[in-house]
Amino acid sequence: MVRQGKISWLTHDLTHRGVTAWLLTAILVGFYLLLYFTERLTAVAHWIRLDSKWTLYGLLYTFAIVIGGIHVIRKYRHNRYQVVRTSVVMFVQVVFAFAIPHILKFLHQPEYYFSYLWPLKFEYFVPGNIFKMPLPYILYSFLGSLIMVPLLGIFFGKRWYCSWVCGCGGLANTAGDPLRHLTSKSSAAWKFEKVAVHTVLGLCIALTALLFITWGVGDRHPALSRFTYQFQSLYGFIVVVMLTGIIGAALYPLGGTRIWCRNFCPMAALLGLVQKFGRFRITVKENMCISCGLCSKYCEMGIDVRSYAQSNTNFTRASCVGCGLCAAVCPRGVLRLENVTRRDPQEIALVQISEIQPVARVAI
């Protein structure tokens, strides 16, 4: 039941697809259209003495994460995982996604974002782009994407990136927090997600391969160059402009916070596959779930966490970004995020339990 009062009405309306939520969506879509397709914001940027509209956008984005982050830290102050994670996300945004690139630019270095990697940051694998940079950046691009990303994914799951580092996830988990429950939990949404996210990953890998081939064969095949160029422009328009910006961020008030991450992000798809073979999992405390459904309701990836919790099933879902909100909102402390290692004394003890005392499992 909604609390009485105008402010409560507004908060509810904004967070439950009411009139104001549609209005906010329209404003956000308008903003992104202005940003991507016009130069109006350039004037605004110059007016407040910023060099470009992209710097202005970066500044606004960082503000959203910092202010939202402060709200989230207050809201989940009883949960250390949320406090630590949110602090890191805010730090990464301010330092790696805003300050350092601008400092680099000031030092006449490439404007490099260390917190974004291929396949999310597609440009860092475009040969014509990356090979112009000094060697350390080239090394970071390749070693980061090909070694650091999967390796950390094996040890900590997808969350090290999607919930601790990435700016897209950062915005979702800070400013987007009041809207996280809007993610669709329907099985149709789940089916769409599986197809869509892996399709984008496939396209991304295909395009990258094509770019390297085109770069390798040089100017000998102008038709190939043209095709690659068109493919790249199309990918840039659909994936980067439409899906990351307009669909991904502007539709928060209607479709929840992780539309991009869940359905389209190639990095999330790749890390999801790694996660399935890694150590991360969500452990379910046996027979303690009261099926209240808060975990499912507040899962921004649309995972029906309750179905696992109420059937006593530990699980690792490829889409899970490890934000830990399911565990945070659980009123009976049923869920715990873990990087399972064999030496964990709790793990060993649990194995012993199931050997000694086969508890009547209520599995439905």
Partner: protein
């Protein structure tokens, strides 16, 4: 074969799904007068606090029931005739069964306070969907609320009313909050926490009269100490009891005391009729017991279904455990932590600087109960240590294994070991003095 289940709560629904797993062809009908679909009763408070919609409270997608071919009937059962294996429904229809499960749950207990019968408006409980609707209807015309009864439902209702900005008085008859589950030390931590949310918690207060104002709406209550508390909403949560009154009037009532008496295989005194969940009365340690707990109902629902299918079920209540949340304080208990036998030793440690504590109880050298506040614990470890009759020394040495807190948030147990040594010395001195 036609299985009929009265009640679509956690016991009934678990039973229905278990029956379906084993009997792909049998007819299964589940009857409820309360709701169209199974919902999580323990989550009613989240609907009241705008954190979830009623639909969100349903643990299964609605299409599960047609898919599993479980027929849902929204009606109240008015008569049970075991000789002809027939139910009569309020709508006038009758329904034949081959095997029947009574999973009718429980209802709020009603006190006999003077004036309560005159209050036509403003008195609420917090157990059923209808209770929630009534609470919601009264909320916006309420400034002050009184909640009577020191249990879990009471504190949940208090939390909801605080969310809605009401001035709440929480009256507890016993000297401290929830003596059935918490010792005085734990209760003090909880009470202080509830008070910090702006609730006026009064221990040792008993209602002597319900005051009724214009248009028969509650306007306050008077207590035995003579104090008056104005309120436009009076929440009564003095416990729940099996919802079996209607069964006393049917053609063939099953044998009942407080609840429907069941054998260790969930059979009632009637042929082809079983019972499970809140409404079932069984024996725990030789004592007749009704247990109105989600976990018990879920387990019993599954086992009763298996008994109905002919499995040899010999239900022995497992080691008791439960969990709860008082505003932000989490609570886990296992074994016997209250009403312990004479001679039991109880080690209690308040974690300094935290709203957290641990209590371990042992008898004849073996641990028998745990009461933990303010942190997350895996109760399966407690159950195992109790079953293995571990010593207090062993348990305190291994306590960290049972911790289930979030990453980076593990409760610091550094203060426990010194506190335990000190406690042991005191116990030894006390023993020497005797």
């Amino acid at each position: 074969m036609h299985f009929v289940i009265i009640g679509n709560g956690v016991a009934g629904t678990t039973a229905a799904l278990t029956l379906r797993q084993r009997e792909p062809k049998a007819g299964i009908t589940m009857i409820s007068g309360e709701s169209d679909y199974f919902f999580s009763r323990t989550a009613l408070m989240y609907a009241y606090m705008d954190r979830m919609s009623l639909h969100d409270l349903e643990p299964f997608e609605r299409k599960v029931f047609p898919k599993q071919n479980i027929r849902l009937v929204r009606d109240w059962v008015t008569d049970l005739d075991a000789s002809s294996r027939t139910l009569r429904l309020k709508s006038g229809h009758s329904l034949a069964y081959d095997r029947l499960l009574l999973a009718v749950g429980s209802l709020a207990n009603l006190p006999a306070w003077p004036g309560l019968d005159k209050a036509r408006e403003g008195v609420v409980h917090f157990v059923t969907l209808q209770d929630l609707e009534k609470c919601e209807r009264l909320t916006n015309s309420t400034r002050e609320a009184v909640v009577v009864g020191g249990g879990l439902i009471g504190v949940e209702l208090v939390e909801c009313l605080v969310f809605h900005g009401k001035k709440v008085t929480f009256l507890v008859r016993s000297p401290w909050y929830w003596p059935a589950a918490l010792a005085r030390e734990e209760s003090e931590i909880v009470t202080e926490h509830i008070r910090r949310h702006g609730v006026d918690v009064r221990g040792g207060e008993e209602v002597s009269e319900v005051l009724v104002g214009d248009s028969s709406r509650v306007r306050g209550i008077r207590t035995k100490s003579g104090a008056e508390f104005p309120c436009q909403m009076l929440g009564i949560s003095i416990g729940v009891g099996p919802a079996v009154e209607w069964l006393r009037q049917v053609t063939t009532p099953p044998h009942m005391q407080r609840g429907i008496i069941i054998s260790p295989s969930f059979a009632t005194s009637l042929e082809n009729v079983w019972a499970a969940g809140d409404c079932a009365e069984f024996e725990r340690d030789g004592k007749p017991t009704v247990e109105q707990i989600w976990y018990t109902a879920k387990r019993q629902g599954e086992l009763a279904a298996r008994a109905m299918l002919g499995d040899g079920i010999n239900y022995k209540p497992p080691i008791f455990y439960n969990s709860a949340m008082f505003f932000e304080i989490e609570y886990t208990t296992a074994g016997m932590a209250i009403d312990v036998p004479a001679g039991a030793e109880s080690f209690f440690c308040r974690i300094p600087g935290k709203e957290a504590s641990i209590r371990v109880i042992a008898h004849h050298g073996a641990v028998m109960g745990f009461n933990m506040l303010g942190a997350r614990w895996n109760h399966t470890f407690f159950e195992r240590w109790i079953a293995e009759r571990r010593t207090m020394d062993y348990v305190l040495e291994h306590l960290a294994e049972a911790q289930f807190d979030v990453e980076f948030g593990r409760l610091d147990l550094a203060a426990v070991a010194p506190s335990y040594r000190e406690w042991k010395q005191q116990e030894a001195q006390a023993a020497a003095a005797r």
